[in-house]
Subunit: 510 residues, 2 copies
């Protein structure tokens, strides 16, 4: 006969399930105190309190819960690099190919689709090629590392871009955006609280969040604002030496080029010096190069290209360098954020480390296969002579020049405002101007237990509907304040709104 | 003037970067000893050594590196539930809608597409609706939790399925397959090595892998093979009590219904008893219900439906229950594995826990938006009277009955073989027969430092090209051996090949 349940605390209960009695004392719910503290401590400002408030405001605007109660009619999402949320149109060739991968039945109607000008011939052909490389369907899991044929195409793109010996499909991992590659690398490299990860300050908060989640130690190296956020390699090496002296092993160094949030583009000389530090201390290089196609001034040089040059020039000195280079379909002129395409190339990694990364990819089964196809289309766009070539070029140039124009307009506006200092845009999709805030604004923020730039961004949002991210979310030198804004939002009225707000704000707290 | 580099070990080096000298001693590479031990220890058998060997064999077959050197001409991937890799066709209605989301330009040609019978009218209309809910483009990041309109549709589906009060879009998280939801839950709930997670044995190895990665303690409860892999709730409660006595806090319980790899379908009575244990000890329930549409015998009852019934019937007793229910577009009749759609509904979670899950989703930015759209199409297929309705129904029934037929054929084959004992298939996509292996086979395996079932699966692969997963990858009672096979592979010849192999194997080691 079944035992009787004691109605006291959970732990002193005895088995009762077989009696299926409902006479028991419900135990308290799991609370935050029982959860993973490392996750609780992690921060991700790009979608922090200001972005969440913006979503509330949009909901109210949309559902007219408080009609006309705001001094603006729409939210300007300048907080996140999300081009297609704004006015950027996807590339026609890519989307024609993707639509056929989703519905291969269209190929039965080739003649109609071509004669009616609904599709271009080369789009149909590329879709058939991708279809054969994918094998079954975009609805099937691919190999954990990604579709082999797409990895071959990606390897060819890298060899051509870097004008060096052939890259290998075996070194390419197709990933859900670049974020997933960062996750794999951090999971594998963060051994314990004595593991150090070098990151630039300011940085993209995914890095600080992952370091926190995986319980490693952040080793900051500060970028030099006065010289256009340039990277001072002495600063990096000092950080390495200090870490070692404090019993921290510097395992990896994150380099973001072009920079996020700074937009700075690294010179060959600086990249060489960074690689030298990596070789000298056996540090894995994580090259976040997702903005390599968003260059407005200067030229992009991939970390791998410079590494290969050093390896040729100084035999034996650089063979120990382990580099993971990340790219994504979310940025560039593709801007396919929601489709989560990306790749990671690993260079010089030992088989054991490679195997570990492959295991992580296997546990994830595979990255989204349509995103893998978009990587293919990003690295191998229409060629000269293809039917889609000219329109594709037009679309790319239009996107690029629009971004450049808006970046310049925003830069000019900031440059002519009192209390804002802005570095000239070189690359990426962001400006990261410095705010020279009046003491009264800083005091006001303190009262509200906010950073001063967070206070500024909240005021900006509530007065203009413009959603940005305070510099404190990316890291900045003590006592300095910044704001990150994208220059993706359509039109320029919002820039004028910002100007008006800023002047009013400065006057109010002067 | 720049300091000179010492050519001794890395750590005693002094800064040299500013001189950009290449006169230094390269440090040793990071090795496995420097990596995250928890990742090194994690195992994922579904893509383990046998699957990897199968991929090698396929590569050799495909590239004819060793022509005619194998006793088979193709690999049968029975190791992973990947329907569209095999002969399962995607649902036409879904793919018509998806193709338009990828290339909305098609809508300009509505008339041609309809008059030529290339698209069905309701597919175009659904695409326009989804387009408006998504707002911008499938190429834009959505809200971290997922597109609001799709979450509303999902909530309506749940209310209808469970015939209970309206579910809320705020409780729905759209995720990259169900795997991502498991990752979020494990990250949030695994506090430290004193956190216990209850999982059925045998189980889907994603759970043991996540528990290992997040450094928690696995609390196994064994399913009862003799009674068709049924769940014995006393077994669960005993595991809970033992854990508490050993200073382990049982924080969450994983319930897989229908079972993977067992295919068992839980009765209302068992689900009630499981919920009672959860309420009594304050354990979070993780209901993995991704196979809810793959039922061959019995009926699926969602954990949430039964919870709501208990809450009505026993006021105050079950209000503390926290349930996360997972679903996916990868299984069912949709089978869209590569598109990575899925959702998680959270029930009874505190705002703090909900906020933590939202933070994890935010760090991930958003799940793939095309996958989110597929969730919408899974939970809201064509309705009676819609133009696509009948064809859609035909396709669904065809998929379902084909699976059932092949499951039965496989079951009958195993039932008539000596040395294999198989439980009748009830649901999911797998059979998990027990292997009664001759001692000589077990000894042979020991010599090769393999589990006996791993040895059997390797032999099966090398002799027939059939790729399966040994029971040791899912967990099984000491001294028992099993193999998991899907019944997705087209045709039935491979089943006959397996039969021949098995008889030969048994004779050889008798």
């Amino acid at each position: 006969m079944p035992p009787i349940t004691s109605s006291t605390s959970g732990t002193s209960n005895t088995p009762t399930s077989d009696s299926n009695t409902h006479d028991f004392e419900p135990a308290p719910k799991i609370s935050v105190a029982d959860l993973n503290q490392k996750i609780i401590n992690a921060e991700y400002a790009v979608r922090g309190s200001i972005a969440m408030r913006a979503e509330e405001l949009e909901f109210e605007l949309y559902h007219k819960t408080q009609p006309h109660s705001f001094p603006f009619e729409r939210i300007i999402y300048a907080n996140i690099g999300n081009p297609q949320q704004l006015d950027q149109k996807p590339l026609t060739f890519s989307r024609q190919v993707m639509s056929i991968l989703e519905y291969p039945g269209l190929l039965k109607f080739k003649d109609v689709l071509l004669s009616q000008g609904i599709y271009k011939k080369d789009a149909l052909e590329r879709a058939e090629l991708l279809q054969s490389q994918i094998g079954a369907s975009v609805g099937a899991y691919s190999l954990a590392q990604g579709v082999y044929g797409i990895r071959e195409t990606t390897a060819r793109f890298i060899s051509k871009r870097d004008n060096c010996e052939a890259a290998s499909a075996d070194d390419i991992f197709l990933t859900d955006g670049a974020s997933k590659a960062v996750t794999y690398l951090m999971m594998a490299l963060c051994q314990n609280e004595h593991t150090g990860i070098l990151i630039p300050i300011p940085q993209y908060p995914l890095y600080t969040a992952s370091i926190c989640i995986h319980n490693a130690k952040m080793l900051p190296y500060y970028l030099d604002e006065e010289s256009g956020w340039s990277t001072k390699v002495e600063e990096i090496e000092n950080s390495v030496i200090n870490a070692i002296e404090n019993g921290i092993k510097p395992s990896a160094m994150v380099v973001i080029n072009p920079g996020n949030p700074t937009g700075a583009v690294l010179s060959v000389d600086v990249i060489q010096r960074i690689i030298t530090v990596a070789a000298k201390y056996g540090i894995v290089l994580i090259a976040d190069e997702v903005y390599q196609d968003n260059i407005f001034n200067g030229e992009f040089h991939s970390m791998k290209k410079i590494l290969r040059q050093l390896q040729k020039k100084y035999p034996g000195k650089y063979d120990n360098v382990q580099l993971a280079s990340l790219h994504s379909t979310s940025k560039g002129v593709s801007g396919e954020c929601g489709q989560r395409g990306g790749y990671m190339e690993i260079v010089g990694f030992s088989d054991e480390v490679r195997h570990l990364l492959l295991k992580l990819a296997s546990i994830n089964i595979c990255s989204v296969v349509t995103g893998q196809a978009l990587v293919d289309l990003m690295v191998d766009p229409p060629h000269v002579g293809d039917e889609s070539y000219e329109k594709d070029q037009e679309e790319r140039n239009e996107i690029h020049s629009t971004l450049k124009k808006r970046a310049d307009k925003l830069y000019d506006t900031f440059s002519n405002l009192e209390g804002i200092e802005c570095q000239k845009p070189q690359g990426a999709m962001y400006l990261f101007p410095r705010l020279i805030l009046p003491d009264r604004a800083i005091e006001e923020a303190k009262k509200l237990q906010m950073e001063a730039d967070e206070f500024y961004c909240h005021k900006l949002l509530e007065n203009t509907g413009i959603c940005t991210v305070p510099g404190s979310g990316f890291g900045q030198r003590e006592g300095t304040y910044h704001v990150r804004t994208t220059f993706l939002s359509p039109g320029t009225e919002w820039i004028d709104d910002w100007k008006k707000f800023h002047e009013k704000f400065m006057k109010e707290y002067q």
